[in-house]
């Protein structure tokens, strides 16, 4: 789960990381009020789960409360499009209004888990303000690393070495050492998979300040963090993905026309790949779980057919222990109940597979059976293509759905 910048900064501040003074506004008037309270120059920053906000027009400086109000009016309600957002962008619902800082240097500081080393690693770089992946690709020598002890964490000497490596000295080196250990403590306490301050700035008057912050939380640790529910912003998630997660389904929305329903994550990815190989485009990743119960199949169908782009569905279930007649029963019941009209191709493997196929064939519904994945993919791509050519709603190209019109007061 990703957090907003203002949430990350509030959490980091609790660990002693210095952050600029600021508050969140949902209206231009509120933004003006915050700017008035802060006094002086401020920065108005769109709060969305995506980087690259500055270049996209989602971050604006303001010299007065009036300018802050005008900036907030521009940003609130806009669809921010950055390289990290979906093509249609993300609707901005909140802005962070912060005091502006005079910046002398921009640094990078982050903690993540090194998979190969099975331990957290602290990374620091004097190339702050750009994506760390770009630095890693172009100038790997500019990234300093300190591997944390899995149980003991990061020691002060390691943090000091990073600080000196960044060219900090005197009081600044001391502050950076404290800040690094604070960031590490936050990473562990909140079960983060990424805790990143980018840029970490040295101000003109010689202080360290976390100008931007990003925390990503390990979803597997949710059970021991009852407070995470309040941090989740479902507006930042695709509605269908929110719905899927309520049913315990692993669903990721993509852009194609072939919906897929598969048991197992690896097989689900391979199914998407083979659809592409057959000349189609997968509409989604969907793992219904090992058991593929009738209830999960119904939930999955409901989500797949809610995606208007889906022209045909491929069900690929490797049952093993699972009985294919039961599976067929579940599929038939779901298709009848939800009145699924689009063609459905089913490839299943397991006990009683012939009986299952016969049940599908005799159901009178729009099913096509396939014996293996490759055949299933070819069939479903052909059917999706045919649907594309004949479907009435495809005659006139539909405008891409951009979500609800903005309604927040004062956003126009």
């Amino acid at each position: 789960m990703r957090l907003h910048e203002h949430q990350a900064k509030a959490i980091l501040s609790g660990f002693g990381v210095p952050v600029p003074r600021g508050e969140v506004a949902e209206t231009p008037e509120a933004a003006a009020g915050i700017a008035r309270q802060l006094g002086g120059r401020v920065v108005v920053k769109a709060q969305v789960h995506a980087g690259g906000r500055g270049k996209a027009g989602g971050i604006k400086p303001a010299a007065s409360p009036e300018e802050a109000e005008a900036a907030a009016r521009q940003i609130l309600g806009m669809r921010l499009r950055t390289p990290q957002t979906p093509p249609e962008g993300i609707l901005v619902r909140k802005v962070l209004v912060e005091e502006a800082s005079a910046v002398a240097r921009e640094l990078y500081l982050g903690v993540t888990v090194d998979r190969a080393e099975a331990a957290p690693v602290v990374m620091a770089s004097e190339a702050g303000g750009v994506e760390i992946e770009e630095v890693a690709a172009a100038h790997p020598e500019k990234i300093l690393r300190a591997r944390a002890h899995p149980a003991l964490g990061i020691e002060p000497f390691q943090a000091r070495r990073l600080a000196y490596g960044l060219g900090l000295d005197g009081e600044l080196a001391k502050a950076a050492t404290a800040l690094t250990t604070a960031l590490y403590r936050c990473f562990v306490a909140h079960d983060c998979s990424l805790a990143e301050i980018n840029p970490l700035v040295v101000t003109a008057d010689g202080r360290l300040l976390a100008l931007d912050a990003k925390l990503t939380l390990d979803d597997n640790a949710r059970f021991r963090h009852p407070d995470w529910g309040a941090l989740r912003d479902v507006h930042e998630e695709t509605p269908l993905e929110v719905e899927a997660s309520r049913h315990g389904l692993n669903y990721v929305k993509l852009d194609g026309s072939v919906g897929c329903m598969v048991n197992g994550a690896g097989l689900a990815m391979a199914t998407m790949d083979i659809i592409k190989l057959a000349g189609g485009e997968p509409a989604n990743f969907l793992d219904v779980g090992g058991g593929a119960s009738a209830e999960q199949i119904e939930n999955a169908f409901r989500i797949l057919i809610s995606d208007p782009k889906v022209e045909a569905v491929l069900i690929n279930i490797f049952g093993g222990i699972l009985r294919c007649d039961r599976l067929a029963e579940g599929v038939i019941a779901a298709v009848r109940k939800l009145e699924v009209k689009i063609p459905v191709v089913i490839r299943m493997e397991g006990t009683n597979v012939e009986l299952g196929k016969r049940m599908l064939a005799e159901s009178g519904l729009n099913f096509t059976s396939a014996d293996d994945m490759a055949e299933a993919a070819e069939k479903v791509v052909a059917l999706a293509g045919a649907a594309f050519r004949t479907s009435p709603r495809r005659v006139a190209p539909a405008k891409p759905a951009l979500g609800k019109p903005r309604t927040s007061p004062g956003a126009g």
Binding site: A116, A151, A265, L267, A268, A270, M272, G319
Partner: protein, 291 residues
């Protein structure tokens, strides 16, 4: 022949009185596995479906001579279960549990360092030496004994590959699901080393997916002297960057860990990389000179 497990392996099932643990302990026993004990704290002294239950792994080790642990403990307690098994002196720990927090696995891996236990998983289907015994949740009947070793980060995708092999009459020595999490106990390279030394294994199927660098490390090892032929498949060519594809470890982060990179690395190392799991059987047959 096989690696890691066989007929003589004596397994203790941790979480045996839970729904999954109970169900799969029975399926393993039906396949021929020696399920000698179960562990559920608080239920020691009872007997579950004919299997003696203990409060601790140490007792199961001392009284029943268990040398392998199969873990079905829920995510919140699973890392603890791994460490308990290691502390009891269990040689091979197979953790099926999905959803363990990454930092719990950091602790568990640190605990295992310097001990003799090997961990398989977590978030894996387990492993099977066909015709001998199985330790996990895979359907036993799709396998048959033979000369091909299988290593995979995925469950049902492995069954798919095994199914294609078996349908062509090609059996398997051992199939190992190493798990879909970012931090796991045994890597592709560890398994390749074991298969390299196993006289019963003539070829290896390696099934990877997006995320991490395990496939690249496997490619490096293969290029530097694995004498046996390898067929590879990597899932996730169409996966979008930055999104977790079901498995906690299946994510393209910062543009790294793509299926394309992994396929290229494996191809450079001499692996026969196939574009679809349906081609795995034919590719192995070709390498083994079979019809």
């Amino acid at each position: 022949m096989s690696i890691l497990v066989g007929r003589e392996t004596r397994v203790v099932v941790q979480g045996i009185t839970g729904r999954e643990g109970s169900f799969h302990a029975q399926r393993c026993r039906e396949y021929g596995t020696q399920v000698v004990a179960g562990v559920t704290p608080g239920k020691g002294g009872t007997v579950h479906e004919g299997i003696p239950v203990f409060d601790t792994v140490a007792e199961a080790f001392a009284k029943e001579g268990a040398n392998t642990a199969l873990i079905f403990v829920p995510p919140a307690a699973a890392a603890d279960a791994i460490m308990e098994a290691a502390d009891a002196g269990i040689e091979l720990i197979v953790c099926i549990t999905e959803g363990i927090p990454t930092l719990d696995m950091v602790r568990a891996r640190a605990f295992l360092a310097g001990r003799r236990s090997r961990l398989i998983g977590p978030n894996c289907p387990g492993l099977i030496s066909p015709g001998q015994a199985k330790f996990g949740i895979m359907p036993g009947h799709i396998h048959r004994p033979g000369p091909v070793g299988v290593i995979s980060r995925s469950g049902t995708l492995t069954y798919e590959a095994v199914h294609h092999l078996t349908r062509r009459g090609i059996g398997q020595s051992t199939c190992v699901g190493i798990g879909g999490d970012p931090i796991i106990g045994t890597s592709f390279v560890d398994c390749l080393r074991l298969f390299a030394e196993d006289p019963g294994t003539a070829a290896v199927v390696l099934i990877g997916e997006i995320g991490g660098t395990a496939e690249e490390e496997a490619a490096e090892y293969i290029a530097h002297g694995l004498a046996k032929p390898v067929v590879g498949f990597v899932a996730g060519l169409t996966a979008p960057p930055g999104r977790r594809m079901g498995h906690a470890g299946a994510i393209i982060a910062g543009g790294r860990g793509t299926a394309q990179e992994k396929m290229e690395a494996l191809t450079r190392a001499g692996v026969a990389v196939v574009r679809s799991p349906a081609e795995i059987g034919a590719s192995v047959a070709r390498l083994l000179g079979r019809p």
